[in-house]
């Protein structure tokens, strides 16, 4: 087991070498199962505050990343992340703010069918995952966001979603009344 300053160094090195964000449990596997990793992370957070490299926590997993305000220096030569379609962005937002949510519920909010490719793109990006079936007739599959979603969009937890509290207070995240939505438009051709 590593302690004090040498533990801080060890955690720093492990996070620095890691190819993916790590949980405290992951870090312990390398620096010792009894180590005060939380304390070391707090120390590192402080040390890196305001620097060109930052330590961040995303969905319980930790990683170093470049400071956001330096984006303009780093964008050179990097291929732009694939642009999400408008449907993709809306679908992702609906999943993030309502999760777990079924495809029918997403369709009810958007008022149009979710094209096949839309969910595929989000699944492939590793931003959403199947989150079990809802115990209602038809047992529809639901979707929720992933830790990768939090990392990508720089959210420590889902509670950091912009405007989440206001939307909730305004009742705009209440469960979707599928019965009513279906009464409005009974359309629903197959895609």
């Amino acid at each position: 087991m590593t302690q004090g300053e040498s533990l801080v160094r060890a955690v720093e090195a492990v996070l620095f070498a890691a190819e993916t964000p790590l949980t405290i449990h992951d870090i312990r596997l390398h620096v010792g199962t009894q180590a005060d990793v939380g304390g070391a992370l707090a120390m590192l957070l402080e040390r890196y505050a305001g620097r060109g490299i930052e330590l961040v926590e995303r969905g319980g997993r930790w990683h170093f990343q470049t400071a956001a305000d330096l984006a303009h220096l780093l964008r050179r030569d990097r291929e732009e992340t694939r642009r999400l379609s408008r449907a993709g962005i809306e679908t992702l937002a609906i999943i993030a703010y309502h999760e777990p949510v079924s495809r029918a519920e997403i369709e009810a909010i958007r008022g149009v069918q979710v094209a096949k490719g839309t969910l595929d793109v989000l699944l492939e990006a590793g931003w959403i995952r199947p989150a079990g079936r809802r115990e209602v007739p038809g047992r529809p599959l639901t979707y929720a966001t992933t830790a990768g979603f939090l990392s990508h969009f720089g959210l420590a937890t889902r509670r950091d979603l912009p405007g989440l509290d206001d939307l909730r207070a305004a009742g705009l995240l209440d469960p979707i009344d599928l019965a009513f939505e279906n009464a409005v438009e009974k359309d629903d051709d197959s895609d």
Binding site: A67, A87, D177
Partner: protein, 244 residues
């Protein structure tokens, strides 16, 4: 409310993501908070928009028409004297439609805010060349002494010399058949079936063996040019006679 000016709204319905999207765009044109939007005005704009489309003989997708029919119904319900029996009330339906637009609008804005965040791989970056963490797996192999012994027993049993003894031996050998057939066809002038060359006393397994051996013997004699064979069709009786 002049927002329904068709010139400001393209009539190309492909540009809209369905009726709700169109309704939301119309609602935003009212330039008021969605919470205090006039549903009645909105309904009129939507219906006017579709009328315009149809007067231009544009094809309007079915879901737009379904929404139009529902909105026309909502409009009349809102305007006509209220029937207290009716549930949900027209006001309730209008409120729900307004909430629905609000929710879609909220999600649209949330999505826009989400993608504008500092995104990993676009605005902020992970380390370019991480050394990587390695988990080295060591296999410890396991086997019991019983497995080892049983395996050897199995191999020994498999490779032990085995003597085969055929207990039942009721056959006519090929040599026997050859001698017998060549003698018999030498004595006959006419075609003879194979069966007629088999001893009439032969029965059961011995008869089968005799037929098989005689057949092979006939083939052998034909090959040597000492016999001729004739068969009119497949599976028809096979005739044999001495070569002339």
């Amino acid at each position: 409310m002049t927002a329904a000016d068709p010139d400001t709204l393209t009539l190309d319905l492909d540009g809209w993501e369905g009726p709700l999207d169109l309704l939301l765009a119309l609602a935003r044109n009212q330039k008021v908070d969605l919470k205090v939007i006039s549903i009645l005005a909105l309904v009129e704009q939507y219906l006017a928009f579709l009328d315009q489309a149809r007067s231009l003989k544009l094809e309007v997708a079915a879901d737009y028409l379904v929404m139009a029919a529902w909105l026309a119904y909502l409009k009349s319900a809102l305007l006509l004297p209220r029937n207290p029996e009716e549930t949900p009330s027209p006001e309730d339906m209008a409120l729900r439609l307004q909430r629905r637009l609000e929710r879609l609008n909220a999600m649209r804005e949330a999505g826009a805010r989400l993608v504008a965040r500092d995104r990993l791989g676009r605005d902020v970056f992970l380390r370019g060349t991480p050394e990587g963490l390695r988990t080295v797996r060591h296999a410890t192999w396991e086997a019991e002494i019983y497995d080892l012994i049983a395996a050897y027993g199995r191999i020994s049993a498999r490779s032990r010399p085995v003597m085969h003894v055929v207990a039942h031996r009721d056959v006519m050998t090929l040599d026997e058949a050859l001698a017998r057939v060549s003698e018999l066809i030498g004595m006959r002038v006419d075609w003879a079936t194979i069966e007629s060359l088999v001893p009439s006393s032969a029965i059961g397994d011995y008869r089968k063996s005799a037929v098989a051996s005689s057949f092979v013997a006939v083939l052998e004699l034909a090959k040597q040019g000492r016999a001729e064979l004739r068969q009119v069709s497949p599976f028809a009786p096979l005739y044999v006679r001495a070569a002339s």
